[in-house]
């Protein structure tokens, strides 16, 4: 989010809806994410005129057409580069970047890495459905091993990439996770908005046509308590109604699941979540689902100065006391004057 935007705009969900027909498949998780964003923006006091949604290519990248703000649907994988140009040209703008697992982790992996390491102030929403939807169901870089698809009829053999681990490795200062129909998604979006710098949010999204219910093992309402670890800064890492927690195995230097008896998480050694602890963040993004619950919410949040602020500061410093005089610039360097009668040194 942008600090300069002091005056909160008063809008409602309706103000963020466009007159365009939404063209996702009926039942697609994208609808829920769109609603969550449109519900959150008024609460943030965001101004539609000052907001830009930038996307690449893919199902998720149609998002800007449905948000009543400025929107730029660009080319495959390159949204971070466009966002960089937009933000450097006008740092006042609130820039949201919408991408997917194919767009952001495959063809655009390079740009995802660099926008994170530079720490451009923007919100990056990566809709992860572990499949290529718009091109009709090929496996993606986040598809699990063995995923059958038109290009992997015998099951995929590549190991999947983990977007949050990638983001942290690239130098991201904010990492969060949510899923399409989660009631907590607006809170995750708000935290991302309030983080000054590149805020990376992985949103698990159900592709009901090509990869249906692939996240049900943790996202299904039934038994969700046991399989979701919602992280909150300053709170113990508890799940399953407080009966289990995450502790540090100090011998192996890994995380472990511990039982919590009678709510006494302290004696069970449950870790208190500190969003600024980068070591713990590394463990959380790598924490395997199955033996562990799915880590959701804000995993890491430790701001650093933004790229555009550094660029502006450098330009101000380099320009200080210099007059932009074009005539003088053109005549710079070693010059000589030719009189009508001949040259003079």
């Amino acid at each position: 989010m942008n600090e300069m935007t002091k005056i909160a705009a008063t809008t409602t969900l309706k103000d963020w809806e466009t007159d365009q027909e939404v063209r996702w498949c009926p039942g697609c998780g994208d609808y829920a994410i769109l609603k969550a964003v449109q519900r959150t923006l008024p609460e943030l006091g965001a101004d539609p005129a000052n907001t830009v949604f930038v996307s690449g290519i893919g199902c998720s990248s149609r998002f800007p057409y449905y948000v009543e703000s400025y929107g730029f649907h660009t080319i495959h994988g390159r949204a971070p580069a466009f966002a960089t140009g937009i933000k450097l040209a006008n740092p006042q703008l609130d820039v949201w970047l919408v991408t997917g697992d194919g767009d952001g982790m495959s063809i655009g992996g390079n740009h995802t890495m660099h926008v994170l390491r530079r720490n451009l102030d923007c919100q990056i929403l990566l809709f992860n459905n572990e499949i290529y939807g718009l091109t009709k169901g090929q496996y993606s870089p986040t598809s699990r091993e063995g995923t059958t698809s038109p290009t992997t009829p015998l099951g995929s053999v590549d190991r999947p990439a983990s977007p949050c681990a990638f983001a942290l490795g690239a130098g991201a200062r904010f990492i969060a996770r949510g899923f399409d129909v989660s009631k907590n998604l607006p809170d995750v979006l708000k935290a991302a908005y309030h983080h000054k710098g590149a805020a990376f949010v992985e949103i698990f999204q159900n592709c009901i046509v090509y990869n249906k219910d692939v996240f049900n093992d943790f996202a299904a309402p039934k038994g969700a308590e046991d399989r979701q670890l919602w992280l909150a800064n300053g709170e113990p890492m508890l799940f399953a109604k407080g009966t289990h927690g995450i502790a540090l195995d100090t011998e192996k230097l890994t995380l472990k699941v511990v039982d919590v008896v009678d709510g006494d998480w302290q004696s069970a050694g449950v870790i208190v979540h500190d969003v600024t602890n980068r070591s713990i963040a590394h463990m959380l993004v790598e924490m395997p689902f199955g033996p562990f619950p799915m880590a959701l919410g804000v995993l890491y949040d430790d701001p650093r100065p933004t790229f555009e602020a550094a660029v502006m500061a450098e330009r101000a410093k380099a320009s200080a006391g210099k007059e932009p005089n074009l005539a003088k610039l053109l005549a710079k360097g070693q010059t000589w004057t030719v009189e009508d009668s001949g040259p003079e040194l």
């Binding site: 466009f82 140009g85 040209a89 053109l330 000589w336």
Partner: protein, 648 residues
């Protein structure tokens, strides 16, 4: 023209009008620096000049090898100079490899200055010489002046106590000193420059000055076998005013800054390092006070995408590269066409395909510029003919981009980017401004129509941040006026036609094509574009001096072309198109105007020699009744006779 520089028989020859000198040595010998400083001294002496730096792609190629030779050629004189010269009159060879790779170009009777200190057994082997060419008579058709420059340099810097390696580094200044003596040049500007360059190390400054002076004194006092005479080339008559030397890369950078100022816009430059385009980025990073934001992106694609993003947000987006990088930018260029945003794309062309010849020049990206995108994606193309012309072309590219809301390609090449020439510094007060305006309120009553076109076919430029004008753009086909997604057949037809009409219409804003030398009709037009200007102009001038009816036309606007160009070309019996590719502009001319344009092609990584163009012109005239052939051109059996002459 033949110089009398090395003619021992000539007792009192008049000074030649122009001399071509080539400095060649190891890539670590400082030849580019020597050439650059000699250029400056030529400028200060009031000579006109053109230079041609020719260096290897390797940063520090193994010492003494043939592929590690770096050369710098300068053509300077008291007459107007358009090219870096065909064959050198003087070759300074700092080692056997430099001699071997360059001596073939030297004029018969030309002068070789060689450093015998480097003609060791080992260096001769590296240059693949069995016997020293200085001793076996193989250099008989040239004048050879061989002496131990290494030893003389070591002697001259002895008082400063430098190590052997450091001391030998002063060789280039010793050689420069000798060259300054040969051409009667003032040493003081060079001494000032050395003192400034080595301000932090006075010993090095003193040693280099001592070497420079020693080389100069050597010329003054030594018996040089009668080969070398001190020559004074007078100043060339030029328009009065303030001059500086400028390379094409600097001219592009300055032109872009000027263009952005004339448009009243901040400039955003997205670049990624690539030879020979990087120097534009190097120049612009130092001009932040002019509202320039530079961004070294993670790759070529990000560089152009960021520039498009900046244009979308209301700045003048610019990106720059060379052929391989431009190829990567192709998809994003299509997006800029579809979203109709202004953008300037500079291509400093180099030899291709693929990595090709990174440090050598070529004009083989013309098809890429005009045709090289998916879909019908017309983009205007402007080409610079010389370093100083690149300044005006950069401004022109900016003008077209903002006045028509379109990406524009500016073509230069490795030769223009690196070469230097004198430049009459223009007065910005004489430049015509083209300020842009952004849409501030809805443009159709209560509605906003982001794709509503004006009389020029241009859509409004709407900056994010403007209240009430929120809208969405992207690469999917846009509905007429509203800009909504629209795949319908009629709409795509209408928008494809509108995009084409808009670019075609730019022709109305560009000047009619002029004939830069010769007549507006006649027997032969030599049509060029880009950096072939110099050799074509000189060759046509020489042919005309022999009485041949030949004219030179040089096209700046490659796409769209000037409105009168077709009619103009049809006024000549024949059209010859010299270009450093396999005939790309020739094909475009044929396609656009159904003229029988004939190619003259060269793809050696070197610019055309004047003589090559001259010889090609001669074939159109020899032995044809009614055509005045040149005296010194032998009859040619494969002549291409004038249609009019044959029909007489």
């Amino acid at each position: 023209m033949a110089t009398q520089l090395a003619d021992p028989e000539a007792k009192s020859t008049a000074a030649p009008e122009a001399v071509v000198v080539r400095f060649a040595g190891d890539s670590g010998d400082g030849m580019q620096l020597t050439g650059g400083q000699f250029t400056l001294s030529s400028a200060l002496a009031g000579n006109d000049f053109a230079t041609f730096p020719d260096f290897p792609a390797e940063i520090r190629a193994p010492q003494g090898t043939l592929f590690g030779v770096s050369a710098f050629q300068i053509n300077f004189g008291s007459t107007s100079i358009d090219t870096a010269g065909d064959a050198p009159d003087v070759l300074v060879a700092m080692n056997p490899a430099a001699l071997k790779t360059n001596v073939g170009a030297l004029k018969p009777g030309g002068l070789i200055i060689a450093d015998t200190g480097e003609f060791t057994k080992r260096n001769l082997e590296k240059a693949k010489y069995d016997v020293s060419p200085l001793e076996d008579g193989s250099l008989a058709k040239w004048q050879v002046l061989a002496f131990d420059i290494s030893a003389l340099t070591l002697e001259s810097v002895k008082p400063f106590g430098l190590g052997n390696k450091e001391a030998l580094r002063c060789k280039n200044m010793w050689t420069l000193g000798l060259a300054l003596w040969m051409f009667d040049r003032d040493r003081q500007p060079l001494i000032d420059w050395l003192n400034a360059k080595f301000a932090k190390n006075q010993i090095l400054a003193d040693a280099n000055v001592a070497a420079l002076n020693a080389g100069h004194a050597y010329g003054e006092t030594a018996e040089l076998g009668g080969h070398v005479k001190k020559l004074h080339l007078g100043p060339v008559p030029t328009p009065a005013g303030l001059y500086r030397t400028i390379t094409g890369a600097d001219a592009v950078a300055l032109g872009l800054v000027a263009g952005a100022q004339l448009a009243h816009l901040p400039m955003f430059f997205g670049g990624y390092p690539i030879t020979p385009a990087s120097s534009i980025l190097h120049a612009l990073v130092r001009l932040k006070e002019f509202g320039v934001t530079t961004f070294q992106a993670e790759d070529e694609i990000a560089a152009i995408c960021a520039a498009i993003g900046a244009s979308y947000a209301g700045q003048l987006g610019v990106t720059s590269s060379s052929g391989p990088g431009i190829a990567l930018k192709g998809e994003a260029m299509g997006l800029a066409v579809m979203t109709e945003l202004p953008l300037v794309i500079v291509n400093s062309q180099r030899g291709g395909p693929s990595t090709g010849l990174p440090t050598k020049t070529e004009q083989s990206d013309l098809y890429q510029a005009v045709y090289g995108r998916n879909g019908d994606a017309p983009i205007p193309v402007v080409s610079a003919r010389s370093p100083s012309d690149a300044f005006e072309c950069a401004i022109e590219a900016c003008r077209i981009a903002v006045q028509y809301m379109t990406p524009v390609i500016l073509l230069t090449d490795g030769y223009i980017a690196n070469a230097a020439e004198p430049w009459l510094v223009p007065d910005p007060a004489t430049f015509k401004e083209f300020p842009v305006s952004f849409l501030a309120e809805k443009n159709a009553g209560d509605s906003l129509l982001p794709y509503k076109r004006d009389a020029n076919g241009k859509r409004p430029w709407i900056k994010p941040g403007t209240p009430g004008l929120m809208h969405r753009i992207g690469g999917i086909e846009k509905a007429v006026d509203t800009g909504h997604l629209d795949y319908s057949p009629g709409n795509h037809q209408a928008q494809t036609d509108a995009r084409k009409a808009k670019i075609d219409g730019i022709a109305q804003s560009i000047p009619d094509q002029e004939v830069c030398l010769g007549n507006p009709d006649g027997k032969l037009a030599v049509v060029g574009w880009g950096s072939t200007y110099g050799p074509i102009h000189q060759a046509v001038g020489r042919a005309r001096a022999k009485g041949l009816d030949v004219s030179h036309i040089h096209v700046r606007h490659i796409w769209p072309m000037p409105q009168n160009l077709g009619a103009l070309l049809k006024g000549y019996d024949k059209v010859l198109v010299p270009e450093m590719n396999t005939g790309q502009f020739k094909t475009v001319l044929r396609d656009q105007f159904l003229v029988d344009a004939q190619p003259l092609t060269k793809t050696s990584g070197q610019p055309f020699a004047i003589a090559e163009v001259e010889a090609a012109i001669a074939t159109y005239f020899d032995g044809v009744p009614g055509n005045a052939g040149g005296d010194d051109v032998p009859p040619n059996e494969q002549q291409l006779p004038s249609v009019k002459a044959v029909n007489l």
